[in-house]
Amino acid sequence: MKTKRTAVTRALWRFTSAIGVAAIAAFGVTESHAADDKTSITIGYAVSKSGPNAGGADMTVTPNYELWVNEVNEAGGIKLPDGSQLPIEVVEYDDRSSAEEVVRAVERLATQDEVDFILPPWGTGFNLAVAPLMAKFGYPHLAGAAVTDKAPEFVERWDTSFWFMGGGGDYTSALADILVQARDAGTINNKVAMISVADGFGIDLVNAARPDLEAAGMEIAYDKAFPPQTSDFATILNEAEATGADSFIAFSYPPHTFALTKQAQVANYSPPVFYLGVGAGFPVYSDISSGKMEGVMSLGGIDPNNELNAAYRAKHQEVIGRAPDYWGSVLIYASLQMLQQAIERVGLDRAAVTEELSTGTFETVLGTTKLEDNQLRDIWWTGQWQDGTFVAVAPGDRAGAGSVVLPKPGWQ
């Protein structure tokens, strides 16, 4: 009996010591550092530096955060309304591509590190995961790398959220317009072959595209989703080609976009309309397609004659060592500039900054920018590779838009 009792005591000792460790850790981290003399503006962010999301974050989000911080600090910091100028101090975490991690990282930034502002993570899902917290703690949430049709609804739900990339329907209706014009001009037939990656992004877009295309009277001859891990597209392209459709649309991620391009070249499949998803607007796409990307379409695009944008691209190349992509990067960079200008106007009071972001007008790399209902609507929806540049072609009535050139030339 004696030995039994000691076993229980020992177990309890273990239990209490485990709790002790937990408690020490929890208390240890709650002591906040006193911030009487402010010597810097702290900006925190959690992005995926490892795990499956790292590829996307590393292309579109992280480099722009780094570029912006670098620029601000080189200029001596952000000028506050009281005349002081404070440099930015960064607190960064790796969310390891895990939703639970990103949520906790934001809680940590808000309640333990007590940073002045929090920049969002990469991806629609993760932006939605942190949105309730950002609203709860009163941080403006500049959701950059998130495509969602529900942005208006989210703005109502979380009034500190701002959405910079539009929704799936914006991109697909712009594409449908282009197809209708080309069909009516007799350049292409009525058939569309469409594939999408089976995750949030692909499904959002394909769900938006179906009604748009049907409303436009196009016939969807092939419509399949493929798993994100797919690496071989020979069969899918064969089947798509066999439908006789003149338009091929893929709502894909970079690995698929690249693989589709390579396979299309191998199979010499070059339909008049060749529209791909994320990745076709990456600078590296030119290497991927061996320089034969003329006529390929995708989301985003730039106005090649816009000097602001050209300067941004040059600066990105200089500081980060590579060019930004032609879609999301510039939008995220613009959101940071807006944050900076809002701080310069109203100081570090987060509510005031949120209000200013919502109502103010800003000079950014996109030109004069103003949000509508907390959303950036002045976005290029469709771009096309023309003479080595990914030129914005829709909305066609926006200043600086190029015109679509169809049919796409062969893979020469």
């Binding site: 490892s50 795990g51 790292a54 292309m59 493929f226 089947e239 390579k262 010499n268 290497d287 397609s289």
Partner: protein, 288 residues
């Protein structure tokens, strides 16, 4: 139908190539190497570096990376696996230990790649031209993978069945407990088998990098595919890995063509689980 078979064969060639390496490591060296895919990714980045920085042909990269991977894998076995083998009381304990250690190794390799190359998607083009095979156009680089799988498979098969060293390998695979009775140094054989497995992984990586986009964190995808093929073929069986890889390629292609591309992976796992349940020794494995 015929074109799907050809496409499936070519796709399966890649699977076979990478799976043969794992079957050497798992079947003969008895190490369940979860970092196997990361060896492939290292070779991908290595090739990319040699191609982009030194303008080397990816085929020449083979000559550098494959011996490099052999030495690296040999060293890994010596440093990390040998002590585990020595202390393991039985096969199960070694399996659990090796899963854990190689899981750690996976993170170390991945972490180093992330520090050096970042998390970005990486890709380049080489031999991305169509080749007509019996009326079906396939890409030259994938065809190369297929041919390499056959050549390496054939060469290894020759070594296994026609040389003394091969006989020792097979002895260790079939009866690791009694092999020492015949004067076979099991540890040494295991070291070499592990190193050869690593070299095969690297050769797979070089070829894969020619047509597939890779990131520092993509290794686990290759590990899983290779593992599935190895289990399908029967662990330790090279011919099994070769055939199972090709069968898997054809199954995936047919499912994509006739059922739904969205179900290719589900089909893969379903086939895999069914084999595990009904014939756990694999299609070509020796009876348990």
């Amino acid at each position: 139908m015929f074109e799907h078979i050809v496409n499936g064969l070519v796709l399966g060639g890649t699977y076979a190539l990478i799976a043969m390496g794992l079957t050497m490591q798992y079947g003969i060296a008895r190490i369940m190497n979860l970092a196997f895919g990361d060896t492939i990714i290292v070779a991908c980045f290595g090739t990319y570096l040699l191609v982009s920085a030194f303008a080397l042909s990816p085929l020449l990269a083979l000559l550098i990376l494959v011996p490099g991977a052999f030495v690296f894998s040999y060293a890994v076995f010596l440093a990390l696996m040998q002590p585990l083998v020595a202390r393991a009381p039985n096969r199960e304990a070694l399996e659990v230990d090796s899963i854990l250690v190689t899981f750690g190794l996976l993170f170390v390799i991945q972490g180093i790649l992330l520090v050096i190359f970042g998390g970005a998607y990486t890709s380049y083009s080489y031999l991305n031209v169509g080749v007509n095979v019996l009326g079906t156009t396939v890409s030259a680089n994938r065809l190369l993978a297929f041919v390499m799988a056959l050549v390496f498979g054939g060469a290894l098969m020759f070594v296994l069945f026609r040389t003394r060293w091969g006989m020792m390998l097979r002895a260790v695979e079939l009866a690791p407990e009694s092999a020492p009775l015949y004067g076979i140094d099991v540890d040494r054989v295991a070291r070499y088998a592990f190193a050869v497995g690593g070299a095969l992984a690297a050769s797979g990586g070089v070829v894969v990098s020619m047509y597939q986009t890779f990131t520092a964190t993509a290794g686990v995808v290759f590990t899983m595919k290779a593992l599935i093929v190895v289990i399908l073929g029967g662990k330790g069986s090279l011919i099994g890995a070769l055939i199972a890889g090709i069968v898997l390629g054809i199954v995936e292609t047919l499912v994509a063509a006739y059922i739904d591309p969205g179900l290719t992976l589900a089909a893969t796992y379903a086939v895999f689980l069914a084999i595990l349940l009904f014939r756990p020794t694999g299609l070509f494995g020796s009876a348990a």
